[in-house]
Amino acid sequence: MTTAKIEKLERLIEATATARDAKTGSLWRQSIRRMRRSPMAICGAVIVALFVIVAVLGPWIAPYEASAQTWGKEVFLNRNIFPGPRPENWFGLDHLGRDMFSRMIVGARQTLLVGVVATLIGFLAGAFIGGIAAAAGTFGGRWGERLEAVIMRSVDVALAIPMLLLALSVAALLGPSLSTVMIAVGVAQIPIFARLLRGSMLAQAHSDYVLAAIALGVPKARIVVSHILPNSLGPVIVQATLVLATAIIEAAALSYLGLGNPDPGNPEWGTMLADAQRFLSGAPQLAIYPAVAIIVTALGFTLLGEAMRESLDPRLRRQE
């Protein structure tokens, strides 16, 4: 089939799908408008925006060097009694005499990095696996269907392993470090993304405009890449937002289990929270600052994700 002919067919499909596309377009626009009215979405967006700003600007905002043990002597002399908030250190000092406020601000960046990298690993690998499975199952003939069955059964097996176990196994392979935590949390998310994208793509693959494209003889690879895939990403993106929240929390849990890098010079909230557990009865503030930061950030991503999901899901929308 010549390129010109393909393009002509594409235009035809576009024509048949116009009504649908117009509807989809307005669906997105509508959902954005709805989200602007939803207090949940606004709260989430504000929290996420603040978090990202702090993460980006952290080192420049922080009053002190985050890893410098400036007040080390003071802390070491008063064994395990750490000064709380005071004029020069708003959040007090940590167990090595470092300024907690600076550490919190600088820590946002690593935390965001952990969340984003872990989510990206899950998203990319999951979307790849799910996408291959859906494409093979839809257009690959009998062998494609078998391939899809094998892939999806394996995904089911992986889903059957609790996330923490997957993470532990990965960590056992790689040894403890922050990148282990990122990979471990990310790997654990792969099956979810794979299933989600496959489901979403299959729904698209059975829609009228795809059937029209098949009937018109557009190459299958092209249908998948330029029609099915872009239209299937909505729910996956929503899931990614929600997974970011989970990733930050899970990363903290793995750090607590000793799989993260113990007390890196470069602070990260999850590691800080895990480290602070040792001083919980004497100096709970060391744990409470990172804990509150993690909870609020995770809540921000959760609110944003849930609001997105609600505004995109016609079923939920009707309930509102």
């Binding site: 089911d156 992986a158 059957a160 996330m163 607590y256 009865s281 804990a291 995770a298 809540l299 939920l316």
Partner: protein, 335 residues
């Protein structure tokens, strides 16, 4: 129903086989291979070869896999590198504690979550609704180990209302029957033991129940909202049935379907949570064991643990699926 059960059992077998393959691959991929951990740093190549032959590592991979499979079927996971005891024994000793803790957490989550979710749905837009929805949103965002630690500091250490750690007070004499100590205390008539074990269970179970509780509240609310809008509920109303009948037979029986599915999915996060909670309260379940195994790089112990947890997770999900078939005739009976 039989067909459905058989089909699910076959799927289970396939899943477990896949899992064993995954585990074998993982075990092979561990850094250095097992012989390096068993031999001193300065071992000669000859010693290495001898050990490899002794361990069967010179056989073809599929033979090794067969032997691996044979051993795990006999529950022979080898010995723990740290304690030297057989791993199967270690796990068997610790499993009841984890089961007791998880059960208690699930009882809390289901017992509070379903009524609260129902109430939130029926009193939609009131403070009950708002409170339970925002509570559950925050609930899933609190790291379990932090919650556990805070509960311990506040209620055990500062207020002194509840014990800080372990499953029984020091010096309590306890007769083991099932290993679930609250239950055992009741069975043997040692009610003081049951009460003591119960007090030790409260805080860890509360901490562990936080995420399942939050999730169950939300799914119940959404599910009930969905169902009360259905035509068949209106039909039930048009029959003049009593509110209790409508709630039980028409609303909840349908609303339970998604709730049961979600409970199955929650079991995974329950195990993760158990590992964290047990390590905070030194609860002595497999959670604390795996914490120790991870920090000490006790790979055989980790593998045994992963296998046990994965198998029980898969089996529990089978039970959930079967109960789903029991609840939903559309799955069970084909037209």
């Amino acid at each position: 129903m039989l067909r459905y059960t058989v089909k699910r059992l076959l799927q289970l077998a396939v899943a477990l086989l896949g899992l064993s393959l995954l585990l074998f691959a993982w075990f092979k991929a561990l850094p250095g291979g097992p012989e390096n951990r068993l031999l001193p740093e300065n071992a000669t190549d000859q010693q290495r070869e001898a050990l490899r032959a002794a361990l069967g590592l010179d056989e073809p991979v599929w033979v090794q896999y067969g032997e691996f499979l044979g051993r795990i079927v006999r529950l022979d996971f080898g010995s723990s590198l740290s304690s030297g005891r057989p791993i199967a024994t270690e796990l068997a000793d610790r499993l009841p504690a984890t089961i007791e803790l998880s059960l208690a957490a699930m009882v809390i989550a289901v017992g509070i979550g379903i009524p609260l979710g129902y109430l939130a749905a029926r009193r939609r837009g009131t403070w009950i609704d708002f409170g339970s929805v925002s509570g559950s949103l925050v609930g899933v965002c609190i790291p379990v180990f932090f919650l556990a630690a805070m509960l311990k500091v506040v209620f055990a250490q500062e207020l002194g209302w509840l014990p800080t750690a372990f499953r029984l007070s020091a010096g309590a004499s306890y007769t083991e029957v099932t290993g679930l100590r609250v239950l055992d205390g009741i069975i043997t008539g040692e009610f003081d033991i049951a009460a003591d074990a119960f007090l030790h269970l409260v805080l860890p179970a509360m901490a562990l129940s936080s995420i399942p509780l939050a999730v169950i509240v939300r799914i119940t609310r959404a599910s009930v909202l969905d169902v009360v809008g259905e035509d068949y509920v209106r039909t039930a109303d048009a029959k003049g049935l009593k509110p209790g009948t409508i709630r039980g037979r028409h609303v909840m029986r349908n609303a339970m379907l998604p709730i049961v599915t979600v409970i199955g999915l929650l079991l995974g996060s329950l195990f993760s949570g158990a590992v964290l909670t047990e390590s905070v309260f030194a609860f002595g379940g497999i959670g604390s064991f795996v914490y120790q195994a991870t920090t000490e790089r006790d790979y055989p112990a980790l593998m045994g643990f992963i296998l046990i947890i994965a198998v029980s997770y898969v089996v529990l999900n089978l039970i959930v699926d079967l109960s789903y078939g029991f609840l939903d005739p559309r799955v069970r009976v084909r037209k």
